[in-house]
């Protein structure tokens, strides 16, 4: 019995149980199978898989061959090496805590069982994605998590914005997945197999090969790497395909925490790290990864400054952190990227869940309508601050170690691109704490600015008490929500301690652990430089917090003035660089126009009802006419048979 098999299949079992029995039998107990399954997976990971991986044991085996046809065979196989082990820890830990949290958050929801069923299915797909030993399984997991994400974003399908956001996520991801699919296909064409081990072992052999693409010779490794990276750009919401992630916040908050922060969106980073033997072959691809990552990071961090939706701010922050991870991968510091993925999962999940706790209490996403929540929600406040400190890279917290490692790796790579992205990364180090603490100060400090009691469903005695009424109903979330928050807070502080760099007296265990898989970049730097870089980013981070405090605690009218003064820049940032609008006018509108004018023109809506409406009218009409041939008269059928025989014989006579 292979114990590790239970890790993905427990959630699958939970999914099956929930989908079969959830609606009628389990009802409000639908969380039990899902939680038991994912916690079970977590324990197996911690007690069995992790120790084995630490002991240097790598499992790579094909368990089941789904189909064989010539050279094309599809197998289900598992690869458990340090990289997978790290991902397993991240996924199962976050998933366990978020599942538990969701019991409180989703309590009383109509589609309770549906929610947990999808969550389990998602967990299964994600685990299959990280545990697979071949590209096919990676691809299936990749599409599977995408599908679940799509379902869960559109979970409140009655809400138009949610349904639209689901659609947007789906369509935007198509662009990336298209490239990814072609990349996987190219790998199959090049190597004749889809298993990681032989592909990576022979990767070096394709150096310098070119393929002719549209009459233009392209370096093969670069092409494959860039196609794969296309998928990562879509899945991990990097520029220019980042637009779906903020909209994805229409889903329930636990979904945002699990899928759109801790796990699925990091699949792109995981994939790049997994495919490092291919990426390493191409300098162009590496530089592209680094620059796209750095650009996204800076770009989205600046957008986050001006936003007012609590979840969207965190979503932009997620994009920004994912950008940092790609930045690290792009300079060859895969271990640093994965390290940040690992710490990020904790503090970002925590940020989301804490934000969810706030939303749960005040029933709004707009931070303009919050304020002064500190006294009502002390636990939420505390964990929020811890998460923010970790995210902002304040020394001692886990985010500091990983972010510092990335920035140092960028600096130490000594290429011009490395220096460029280092500068950008340092700028991000300023913005991150600034917008996070802006969020905290606006939410928890100052006075409560909400005051729409009827929104809380207490309108019966709300009107007489005026605007203070809402405040009295704000309370701390139940234990089932706060305990996961506290546990995640512990992670947000301490998770990074496994990777303390040698310069601070640590052992950089994390990088050592991953070294067999992702290697180690060459550093060109002295201890003094390292101290300098670290000091600089720390000072910048602290000044970001300071500035936020100055703006939003001391001179609370200043931000508005600045916004007025620099309304041009402010508007650009507030409107997210008008990217959505750009896409709307360049892609969405023309597509819709074409759809309207062309498709509608050739489609007769009245032919067949329902879905068949979508079939181009020609076929529908053709079908209607063709069925008239079927007159019901047996002899007409006989005539057709005789005619068939006649025509075949005549044709054969003519042609032979």
């Amino acid at each position: 019995m292979k114990l590790y098999l239970l890790i993905p299949f427990l959630p699958l079992t939970a999914f099956v149980i929930n989908i079969l029995l959830g609606k009628e039998v389990l009802r409000d107990k639908a969380h039990w199978p899902s939680i038991l399954a994912v916690v079970g997976s977590f324990f197996i990971t911690i007690t069995s898989v992790l120790p084995q991986a630490m002991a240097g044991k790598v499992i790579n085996e094909d368990l089941y061959t789904w189909m064989v046809s010539g050279t094309f065979n599809v197998t289900v196989g598992f690869l458990i090496d340090p990289l997978t082990a790290v991902m397993l820890v991240v996924v199962t830990t976050c998933a366990s805590l978020i599942h538990i949290y969701a019991v409180g958050y989703m309590h009383g929801d109509k589609g309770y069982y549906r929610f947990f069923a999808y969550m389990s299915l998602f967990t299964f797909c994600m685990l299959m994605l990280v545990m697979g030993n071949n590209f096919m399984q990676l691809y299936f997991g990749w599409e599977g998590v995408g599908l679940c994400s799509y379902f869960l974003i559109g979970y409140y399908f009655n809400k138009k914005s949610a349904a639209d956001a689901g659609k947007k996520a789906f369509i935007v991801n198509r662009f990336g997945d298209f490239g990814f699919g072609i990349g996987v296909f190219m790998i199959f064409l090049t190597f004749g197999t889809l298993h990681y081990a032989p592909v990576f072992a022979n990767a070096a052999g394709i150096t310098g090969q070119t393929v002719n693409f549209l009459g233009w010779n392209v370096d093969l490794p670069t092409l494959i790497a860039l196609l794969l990276f296309c998928g990562a750009v879509g899945k991990s919401a990097q520029v220019p395909l980042h637009v779906w992630l903020p909209d994805a916040m229409e889903g329930p908050t636990p979904v945002s925490a699990l899928i759109h922060a801790a796990t699925m969106v990091t699949a792109g980073v995981f994939m790049v790290a997994r495919c490092n033997p291919i990426f390493n072959l191409s300098e162009i691809a590496m530089n592209t990864v680094a620059i796209v990552g750095a650009t996204t990071s800076l770009f989205t961090a600046t957008i986050a400054i001006t936003q007012n939706d609590i979840k969207r701010i965190i979503a932009y922050s997620t994009c920004s952190h994912l950008g940092l991870m790609f930045l690290a991968c792009g300079v060859g510091a895969y271990a640093a990227g994965i390290f940040h993925l690992y710490t990020h999962a904790f503090f970002k999940a925590l940020l989301f869940l804490a934000a969810g706790s706030v939303i749960h209490a005040v029933h709004t996403n707009d931070i303009q309508e919050m304020g002064g929540l500190k006294k009502y929600m002390p636990i939420t406040y505390a964990v929020f601050v811890i998460a923010a400190l970790s995210a902002g890279g304040v020394p001692g917290f886990s985010g500091f170690f990983s972010k510092d490692e990335i920035i140092w790796s960028a600096y130490a790579s000594h290429s011009s691109v490395g220096k460029l992205v280092w500068l950008m990364g340092t700028a991000v180090a300023f913005f991150t704490p600034f917008y996070t603490f802006r969020l905290i100060f606006l939410t928890f400090h100052g006075k409560y600015r909400g005051g729409h009691p009827e929104e809380h469903g207490h309108s019966a005695h709300g009107s007489s008490h005026g605007s203070h009424q809402g405040e009295h109903h704000i309370h701390e979330s139940p234990k089932v929500m706060t305990i996961p928050l506290i546990l995640l807070a512990v992670g947000a502080v301490a998770a990074g301690w496994v990777g303390i760099p040698p310069i601070l007296g640590g052992g950089a265990h994390f990088a050592e652990f991953l070294k067999p898989v992702v290697g180690h970049p060459e550093f060109h730097g002295t201890h003094a430089e390292e101290w300098g870089v670290m000091g600089l980013s720390t000072i910048i981070a602290l000044s970001g917090i300071g500035l936020a405090a100055f703006f939003y605690l001391r001179k609370t009218d200043l931000p508005e003035k600045i916004a007025k003064q620099f309304s041009g820049i402010y508007n650009i940032l507030y409107h997210k660089y008008y990217i959505d609008e750009l896409y709307h006018y360049t892609i969405v509108k023309p597509t819709l126009w074409v759809a309207d004018k062309v498709i509608v023109a050739i489609t007769d809506a009245r032919i067949i009802e329902g879905i068949v409406n979508g079939v181009p009218g020609a076929i529908g009409k053709f079908s209607g006419n063709l069925r008239k041939v079927q007159t019901g008269l047996a002899q007409h059928y006989g005539i057709l048979m005789a005619a068939g025989a006649f025509f075949i014989i005549a044709l054969v006579l003519l042609l032979r």
């Binding site: 079939v615 209607g624 069925r627 019901g632 059928y637 006989g638 048979m641 032979r656």
Partner: protein
């Protein structure tokens, strides 16, 4: 003058099956509860299936061939019988035609199919075909008090007799050309005498194509299928959309691959347009159907078009994928018919697709099962239908018919519209008529078997694929 009884051991399944049919016929006279006959039939068929194991060999001077190929098809027939009988028990009581002859006729028809699958001689092939066909004509008209059933029987009978006249004419020409009716002897005679370019031979090939095309419902010889499928008792529709079709494919494969192997180029050239036409007619006309039995009839025509690709490849891989496809089709198609049968209750036809509106709200289980079968018929993974299509397409591509596969995939995409229309009706409409399901233990059992088979084959196809490949070895 001495007579030696030929070796009977290869035909033990046929002999047992005949004995079973006769026993059922006799017991019918003695008992009142006809359900017992169903039970005996199923148990008997299960026993016959076991005897299939040790039966391989050739007897009666090549007239009877029991090999992997025939055994695989017989397995399809047995599955077909058992599932059809399971879904019949309650249904024929509702239709008030609970006569014992029903079961013996099903068994006789199956004997005909078995004889066809094992036929090594055109004479035997013809007789097996007639045995199967005559039994099926009667079964199609089994609801004597229903005009539609009479009409189905009449049309099936007229056109069936017409097509078997063509078959006979084709056989007579082959006989005149080669002086024999033995398939292997025909093949060797053709290659020895260099008859491959003879028009008369092609004429007979075309006549056989007409007759077999009729049995598998390939366009333009398909016209009987929608009317007969609609009018026949639903359980018989399920039975004959699988059994006679598979038997037709069995003889098509054997006759063309053994006897006419030297005119391969010609019959492939004939079958390619037939298969395209079949897929086109099946999938396109299905779009505008409102009776679900009729829609599934067109769907079954379309599926014959896909399966024909396996024959067109004219190699063992293609035949194996065709066999594989037919086996999968047996499960998914009878599964779909089982759901349709559940909707039939006293005084309620339940065969209009509007009867399926909102089924997911009133009968979520039935809707979910229908969903699985519709997905499978469309060919969506991870259902068995996907596997069947995939292997057919792969074998066609390997044989160099990529363009044909592209055509097939396009038609397959069109087919999604009408299959998904049912799904849409079930899940996205409000129920308008009250549907009472006439469930019974046997029907449930049939549904369980078909659902499990569709899903298990979809996820673990290698056993079935391996079985089909092993069966075709030494063909």
């Amino acid at each position: 003058m001495n007579f030696q009884l030929p070796n009977l051991s290869p035909m033990v399944p046929e002999l047992t099956m005949t004995a079973l049919a006769l026993i059922v016929l006799l017991i019918d006279l003695l008992i009142k509860k006809k359900e017992i006959l169903a039970l005996i039939s199923m148990a008997g068929v299960a026993i016959v299936a076991v005897t299939l194991l040790g039966s391989s060999g050739v007897t009666f001077g090549n007239m009877f061939i029991s090999d992997g190929y025939s055994s695989f098809f017989k397995l399809i027939f047995f599955i077909n019988v058992i599932l059809s009988v399971l879904i019949s028990i309650k249904y024929i009581a509702i239709e008030r035609v609970n006569y014992g002859e029903y079961y013996s006729l099903i068994l006789f028809s199956t004997i005909g199919m078995m004889i066809m699958a094992s036929a090594g001689d055109l004479i035997v092939l013809y007789l097996g075909l007639e045995l199967m066909a005559l039994s099926t004509y009667i079964l199609a008209g089994f609801i004597r008090h229903d005009v539609k059933s009479n009409e189905a029987a009449l049309k099936y009978f007229l056109l069936g007799a017409f097509s078997s006249a063509f078959l006979l004419y084709g056989i007579s020409i082959v006989y005149g050309l080669t002086g024999t009716t033995d398939l292997k002897a025909i093949a060797s005679f053709i290659s020895e005498k260099g008859l491959a370019n003879n028009f008369s031979l092609l004429l007979s090939v075309i006549f056989l194509t007409v007759a077999f095309g009729f049995k598998i419902a390939a366009a333009p010889f398909h016209m009987w299928a929608p009317d007969v499928y609609e009018g026949a008792p639903t359980s018989i529709t399920a039975f004959m959309s699988v059994g006679p079709k598979a038997a037709g494919f069995a003889v098509l494969g054997r006759v063309f691959m053994v006897a006419f192997v030297s005119v391969k180029v010609d019959w492939v050239a004939i079958l390619i347009p037939l298969s395209i036409l079949t897929m086109a007619v099946g999938n396109i006309v299905a779009l505008s159907q409102t009776n679900i039995k009729r829609m599934l009839a067109y769907s079954s025509i379309a599926h014959a078009g896909y399966a024909l690709l396996g024959i067109i490849t004219a190699n063992n891989e293609g035949l194996a994928s065709m066999m594989n496809y037919l086996m999968i089709y047996a499960f998914m198609n009878i599964g779909a018919f089982a759901v349709i049968i559940m909707l039939r209750s006293e005084g309620f036809k339940g065969d209009s697709i509007y009867d399926y509106e909102g089924l997911s709200k009133t009968h979520p289980w039935a809707a979910a099962l229908m969903l699985i079968f519709m997905f499978s018929l469309t060919g969506i993974p991870p259902t068995a239908g996907f596997i069947g299509k995939l292997y057919i397409f792969i074998s066609a591509i390997n044989a160099g018919y990529t363009w044909l596969v592209v055509v097939a995939v396009i038609f397959s995409a069109i087919s999604a519209y009408f299959y998904m229309r049912i799904v849409m009706y079930m899940y996205m409409r409000e129920p308008k008529v009250t549907v009472t399901l006439s469930t019974s233990l046997p029907t449930d059992f049939a549904l369980v078997i078909t659902t499990v088979a569709v899903l298990v084959i979809g996820v673990f196809p290698s056993f079935l694929v391996g079985l089909a490949r092993a069966a075709i070895r030494g063909f």
